[in-house]
Amino acid sequence: MMGSENDEESHLHASKEDMENLFLRDDGDPLTKTDVNGDKSNSNYRSAMSTLSDSRNPLSPPPIVVTPADSDPLFAPPSYSDFRSPRSTKPKPINGDNSSYIDPPSYADVLFSPFDETSVSEINGSDDGSRHSQSSDSLSRSPSSLSSDYTKITVSSPQKDQDTASSMISGGSTYITYQITTRTNLPEYGGSEFSVRRRFRDVVTLADRLAESYRGFCIPPRPDKSVVESQVMQKQEFVEQRRVALEKYLRRLAAHPVIRNSDELKVFLQVEGKLPLPTSTDVASRMLDGAVKLPKQLFGEGGGASAVEVAQPARGGRDLLRLFKELRQSVSNDWGGSKPAVVEEDKEFLEKKEKMHDLEQQIINASQQAESLVKSQQDMGETMGEMGLAFIKLTKFENEEAVFNSQRARANDMKNLATAAVKASRFYRELNSQTVKHLDTLHDYLGLMMAVQGAFADRSSALLTVQTLLSEISSLEGRAEKLEAASSKIFGGDKSRIKKIEEIKETIKGTEDAKHVAIREYERIKENNWSEVERLDRERSADFLNMMKGFVVNQVGYAEKIANVWTKVAEETSQYARESS
């Protein structure tokens, strides 16, 4: 077991830089240039994996070299040949940093490498934003997040501002604005870097507009309004928490292959000054205007785009009447009343829904256990450190009071133990901060599960619209029939009834049009659902695998470092070795 260090360092020196890069990319920093073959971090992983598998302990069974058949062109030949070289049996240097094979942030590396926001923030314990940014970037790490375009969004410098419009009335309500800086190379955005100031209300607007435009898509959920929290927490804490959440949200939006190209997002990120999107209150106030047009809108009269409007989900305010109808419909669906003409027969969909629900449960569970694991690692590190300190005190004490040489010898032994314990403690803590980042993927997917539910809900509501229209048509046709039957009994026709029949037939025609639009919309949403879920499955698979790799590589690296530390002490105390031990 102790031989493993030998192997590791023999190829460490050449690939130390690779290791640093591996670490940097490990966090899915979108700024690194990716190559044609896909996500670079993947290929570095592969190179690292093969080197790892070669570097096994000489005592273990012969390693299985895993180089993928399509051998990675990026595979740096120099580092590969390094471990083909005969293993030297030189004595292991005692420097813990050097002998670990995979070098996830070694302390020395972190301190001396150029500004690496992640590692520096780990050490300084500051700027939580960047830590989160790494984890949310993990979502864009999957190989399907293609080629070389990138968009990086940063949310910063929260500032107090005053609502000038109402300042004369209520003395002005204050709110916080955040600076949102975007760096991108997407051509659709005019520049490569721009900055705007937004308030939280703007974000809500953005989210609402996106929800309307992208029905059926898994839209990342926006941060909560959390009224209660804002009153309970300290202002600063709350603002910081919100800043972090906003950043995460915007980054996720930018990571979504379809939404990143949306006008709504572009406008939000680029247009300075007031956000030029209709706010939800605007929509509500339109109700007052629209209330007059309601029946016509619903029944297809007047207004060119009315059929399409009908196909949009019913919202409070202007769609009151429609809401009532759809509610009636859904109730009758539930009670097994008149069978809706279009039934959700898509077994596959129902199964998928079920599976998604199970998945969500398991992600919640795994996420909780991950938290608990992180806490245990944390505690271990802390206690190890405290113990180390206690022994350091003992060492000092014995040295000060020493009368006998045996005391000095003991003090020396204690010092070695204490030093190792403190080092190990530090490693545990580093390990942990890395672990948190990796396992955060689980937390992130919880948010995405909500997005999936949203997408499924869009589908259900679109279906409901179709069903409502169908039963509307059916009841209209029923009325027309009755009127015709009654009218035909009157000789010469019944002028008023005939007129009514005509009107109804008009209405039916309009409703039929609306129905067609609604069905098209429903189908469209189904398509969106399907492609989104596909995409999600793929990305999730890749993200989870990356998470596992990151987690495992981390564990290996730090376990090796910790092993080195204690091996050293075992050597320093080898004179006390007994056969029985």
């Binding site: 077991m1 998945l359 256990q369 694991l373 003991r410 080898s574 031990s581």
Partner: protein
């Protein structure tokens, strides 16, 4: 120190002595804990095997059955008779009923008792003790009789000890209360020693406390890994390939490591935390000896005073040709004898303590060195095991990603 260096190392039970038969040896092992008795009255008995060529002992080997209170008896007797010597400490009598009979507790106690007896057997003075011989050889009924005889007297012991501790530490309060300041040795070396011992106990207790917590942390981490492994496996069951299999492998590894951690927790407890606890007990035993020395010193001083007074009195009486001279003379001689005895006792304690301190420091360096070494080895083994286990997953994860 080489591993063949004999008398000072007392880790675990003694192997059969490798020294040639002509050399005197006394080796003891405490083994085979067995639960006897019913319900509240149940207790653990141990097999005590003695191998020796000491002439005072009956034969080369003897096996007896002893229980914890027999060990307590032995310790009390030795404390009485060998003042000045640091009597090896006993493991505590555990108060927690349920815990009393857990397998780990029993094993730890057995190991501690084994060390206890061996330390006595290896001590040049203590090993000559008649009480030791009784302990190692007497049949069970005799032992029981002895044990019951002595408990009456020694019940007071803890209270006496407390009194002595208070004496040693409350000079100031005595002065405040107007009591006569108790007489104390004030040589600088002895002062230094006392200060050292008292401070040492504090430092050691803290280190031991953290060591104990560290054991708990190992257990907690083991539990977390187990729970995490299970959760991850369940998650894998929801996923298709290759993610599902990857999660399943991850979960299995996690569960495996959980076991390693529990094992290491036990090792740390037995080989690291327990020696630290033992060290603390030892220091407490030394404090008891310090108290004894204090008492002996006071007696020596008081009797010296008294003798002086009696001498003065005698001289006075002789000058006045009193007929009480005879009586006084006898008193004076008796007192003088007592005083000389007290002085001898005190000086013996001082002499013993001086030797004991050297022994103690050397033994402790050795024992701590062993403990540190085993701890370091255990941690290295654990960490390497963890690294190896996780590393084994990497090729699989890699091939899963490239699918």
């Amino acid at each position: 120190m080489e591993s063949t260096e004999q008398p000072r190392s007392v880790s675990g039970s003694m192997q059969s002595p490798r020294s040639p038969p002509s050399q005197p040896y006394l080796s003891v092992s405490v083994t085979d804990p067995v639960k006897l008795g019913n319900g509240v009255q149940s207790y653990i008995s141990y097999r005590v095997v003695t191998k020796t060529n000491f002439p005072e002992y009956q034969g080369p080997e003897k096996i007896v059955i002893r229980r914890y209170s027999d060990f307590v008896w032995l310790r009390d007797r030795l404390s009485e008779k060998f003042k000045g010597i640091f009597i090896p400490p006993l493991p505590e009598k555990s108060a927690v009923e349920k815990f009393r009979f857990s397998a780990e507790f029993i094993e730890m106690r057995r190991a501690a008792l084994d060390i206890f007896v061996n330390r006595i057997a290896l001590h040049p003075e203590l090993q000559q003790s008649e009480d030791l011989r009784t302990f190692l050889q007497a049949d069970e009924e005799t032992m029981e009789r002895f044990r019951f005889q002595e408990t009456g007297i020694f019940m007071k012991k803890p209270a006496d000890l407390m009194q002595m501790f208070r004496d040693v530490q409350s000079k100031v309060s005595d002065a405040v209360l107007g009591k006569e300041k108790p007489v104390e040795e004030t040589t600088p070396e002895y002062e230094k020693l006392k200060h050292y011992i008292f401070e040492l106990e504090n430092h050691l207790a803290e280190a031991q406390k953290h060591a104990y917590r560290l054991v708990k942390r190992h257990r907690e981490l083991g539990q977390s890994l187990l729970d995490f492994g299970k959760a991850v496996k369940l998650l894998g069951a929801c996923e298709g390939e290759p993610t599902g299999k990857a999660f399943s492998d991850l979960g299995t590894k996690s569960e495996l490591l959980s076991i390693k951690l529990q094992k290491e927790a036990q090792q740390v407890l037995m080989n690291f935390e327990e020696p630290l606890k033992d060290y603390v007990r030892y220091v407490q035993s030394i404090k008891a000896t310090i108290a004894e020395r204090g008492t002996a010193f006071r007696q020596h001083c008081e009797l010296a005073e008294t003798t002086k007074l009696k001498e003065i009195n005698l001289d006075k009486l002789m000058l006045t040709r009193s007929d009480k001279v005879g009586e006084a003379e006898i008193e004076y001689r008796e007192t003088k004898a007592e005083s000389e005895e007290a002085t001898r006792r005190f000086e013996m304690i001082v002499r013993r303590m001086n030797e004991e301190i050297v022994r103690f420091q050397e033994e402790k360096t050795e024992e701590m060195g062993v403990a540190f070494h085993q701890f370091a080895k255990g941690q290295a083994r654990l960490a390497n095991g963890i690294a190896d286990a996780w590393r084994a997953l990497l090729p699989k994860l890699e091939s899963a990603s490239s699918v």
